[in-house]
């Protein structure tokens, strides 16, 4: 065992983190408006499988990513229609979305199961820069979308905390009645952010497919990453910038089992090691639930509550 392995694991963790960051950024935007979308896991799967199918038949990565985003828009519109429009229970709607999307992705993905990827997202070639010790693989070893994701997080943070629409967004999650009284449309803001959030989630799934997977393999493709992204939202206390650190931590815990297997290090049986990402996520949730931590967190106050003007 040498330190190089762990350096590469860390670089891989940063790469996996891209999916987690994109998905949890989508969830943060959605939840900040007061809507919970528990469907993340299903959205990732649908993004991955539709991306694969489109790339398979067209050979175009860009078209694949575009269609994946469209699928996210459609699926999250259904969620928004049910929860914002019809005021249905957000939790049950999100779960229904997971079940529906899981089934649908397996159904339409059946013919391509196990096929090689038609296109790949490859890291950018930085030439000699990648050979710099430590910084090389960690900073200069990624694909264009990973860097764009970092920019996107900064932009989302700026949007949420420094612009007027961002202020309205946060207000909609905390005090929708106030937004309504000021003449803002709570329904429109919630729709818009649920849909944009959903698009980010399916894009995250498509990216994961082309950048990190070997083949489409039913629900094993994402293997619970969507749920970890939801826990990450709490970890990030609904702030985009803080999601990056958490995503790298969770990404590391997801990558370690693979590293151990590849290096044939058997400290523990692989099935036991495979539990760790979920146990670590759970442990983080527990720590964040202590009264002391909760004071510092600040979840949107009206999260999960439908807004009904007459009942104000």
């Amino acid at each position: 065992m040498n330190s190089n392995i762990w350096l590469l694991t860390f670089a891989d963790a940063i790469s996996i983190a891209t999916t987690l960051i994109l998905a949890s950024l989508g969830a943060i935007l959605t939840e900040r408006s007061g809507v919970i979308n528990l469907g993340v896991e299903g959205m990732l799967l649908m993004g991955a499988v539709t991306g694969f199918l489109v790339a398979d038949s067209s050979g175009s990565l860009w078209l694949a990513l575009f269609v994946a985003v469209l699928v996210g828009v459609v699926l999250s519109s259904v969620h928004a229609a049910l929860t914002v429009g019809l005021r249905a229970n957000q939790i049950v709607s999100g779960l229904a979305m997971v079940i529906f999307a899981t089934g649908l992705s397996q159904f339409i993905g059946k013919p391509i199961e196990g096929d090689p990827l038609p296109v790949l997202i490859r890291p950018i070639d930085f030439g000699a820069l990648s050979d710099i010790p430590f910084f090389g693989p960690v900073v200069f070893g990624h694909d264009v979308f990973t860097y764009l994701t970092w920019v996107l997080v900064a932009a989302a943070s700026f949007y949420m905390h420094r612009t007027r629409p961002g202020l309205l967004l946060r207000a909609t999650g905390d005090a929708p009645a106030t937004v309504d009284a000021q003449g803002g449309s709570v329904a429109r803001i919630r729709w818009a952010h649920t849909v944009v959030g959903g698009a980010l989630m399916t894009f995250a799934g498509a990216w994961y497919m082309f950048a990190r997977s070997a083949a489409w393999n039913q629900s094993a493709t994402t293997n619970g990453i969507g749920w970890i992204a939801l826990a990450l939202v709490v970890f990030a206390s609904w702030r985009p910038l803080r999601a990056i650190g958490g995503a790298v931590l969770f990404g590391f815990s997801l990558q370690v089992p693979f590293t151990l297997q590849a290096e044939q290090i058997r400290v523990l049986p692989p099935t036991i090691v495979a539990m760790f990402p979920y146990l670590i996520t759970l442990a983080v949730l527990v720590v964040l639930s202590t009264p002391r931590a909760r004071r510092l967190l600040g979840a949107p106050k009206m999260l999960g509550q439908p807004f009904v003007r007459d009942e104000r």
């Binding site: 249905a88 229970n89 049950v92 999307a101 397996q106 539990m275 527990v286 639930s289």
Partner: protein
């Protein structure tokens, strides 16, 4: 709200017409079949033909019906588990993992202690240990929810993945207590004969996949329905579900209510797993379990609107989708079994939309062009 030149008004209903209680689920299933049909047609299968085959395979033949009832057995349990928690606004989605643990716990009892007892004691023992194991698996999320207010949604879900890996560890990753010692093939060790029930033959000489555990599940649902109606505990949970503040004012212990409801929910899912041990599996068998009955239980509960008796009906209906789907997969025009899951999700989405009509009276009036 004005849509296409017509004013749509929603008024909250004070009481729901009885017809809607029946119509909403029926229409949900109908529209879900339409959505599923679109995807079937898009992938080159005949929707009508597929559905007729599905119904034919699941609900008409002797083996179809007995297969469906057999699959419905654990599904009733996970449905009850979800309904029990969801009606208290506790969204535990860990039934899948609790069911795995129920199987592991039940198998432990069946191997370790059932040997020296007659069937009349051994079988209930396996079921009870399974229930305890299921409850134990939800104990941490329950404690966190009651003490710290940690959302049970993500914590119960994360434990599903841990349970899945635990199950795989016991059978594929190690050669311990639960592994069959007589072969190197990775499979579970059989429980004692006294801990197993034989399938019901329904007065024929055929071997079916329905076990007496089906009736245990039905009795469980009826008893639960009755108990929650007449007991003080049922009343307290109903009050708490409606208004936690009222419950606290009335001196009810919210931590106790929350944690006990979650523990009972876990126990119900655990019984479902243990029923595999006394029934079809007779051992820890990862292959049998991984058909998503835990998640399907949530759909069953929501479709039944958290009514324990209705859970039985919904579970039999959904189990039929699955057995019918299994038969489709091996027909000469194979349709992926995942269509059953697509239908489940779609039913739930439509049932949710239907809630609007149940809760609100919708009137649509034409508005004049000038005002629109």
């Amino acid at each position: 709200m004005i849509i296409l030149g017509r004013r749509v008004r929603m008024e909250q209903r004070l009481s729901t017409p009885r017809s809607l209680l029946f119509l909403v689920p029926v229409f949900s299933v109908f529209f879900a079949l339409v959505v599923g049909g679109v995807f079937l047609a898009a992938t080159g299968h005949s929707p009508i033909g597929t559905y007729l085959d599905l119904i034919d395979n699941a609900y008409t033949s002797f083996y179809g019906i007995t297969d469906t009832l057999g699959l419905a057995t654990p599904l009733i349990c996970t449905g009850l588990a979800a309904a029990f928690a969801f009606r208290m606004n506790l969204y535990s989605i860990g039934q899948e993992g609790q069911m795995y643990l129920g199987m592991i716990g039940g198998a432990w009892a069946g191997i370790a202690i059932a040997d020296s007892f007659p069937q009349l004691i051994a079988v209930p023992m396996v079921l009870i240990v399974g229930a305890l194991a299921g409850a134990a698996w939800i104990a941490l999320p329950a404690l966190l929810r009651a003490r710290l207010g940690t959302s049970e949604i993500v914590s119960t879900l994360l434990l599903n993945y841990v349970a899945l890996n635990l199950l795989n560890y016991l059978i594929f990753g190690s050669t311990g207590f639960f592994r069959d010692p007589t072969t190197s093939f990775p499979q579970g060790r059989l429980v004692a004969d006294s801990a197993r029930l034989s399938p019901i033959s329904f007065f024929t000489d055929k071997v079916t996949n329905t076990y007496p555990t089906f009736f245990i599940a039905v009795v469980l649902a009826v008893v639960l329905f009755w108990l929650m109606r007449v007991s003080n505990y049922g009343y307290e949970t109903a009050v708490y579900a409606d208004s936690p503040n009222t419950a606290r004012y009335a001196g009810m212990n919210s931590a106790w209510l929350q944690s006990s409801v979650l523990l009972i929910s876990g126990a119900l899912a655990g019984v479902g797993g243990a029923m595999y041990v006394v029934g079809p599996a007779g051992k820890v068998d990862p292959g049998l379990l991984q058909v998503g009955l835990g998640y399907a239980g949530i759909v069953v509960a929501a479709l039944a609107r958290y009514n324990f008796i209705a859970v039985i009906v919904a579970a039999v209906l959904f189990a039929g989708l699955r057995t019918g789907g299994n038969a489709l997969q091996i027909s000469n025009d194979p349709v992926p079994i995942a269509i059953a899951v697509v239908l489940q999700g779609a039913v739930l989405l439509f049932a949710l939309g239907g809630e609007l009509f149940r809760r609100n009276k919708i009137t649509i009036t034409r508005v004049r062009a000038a005002s629109a």
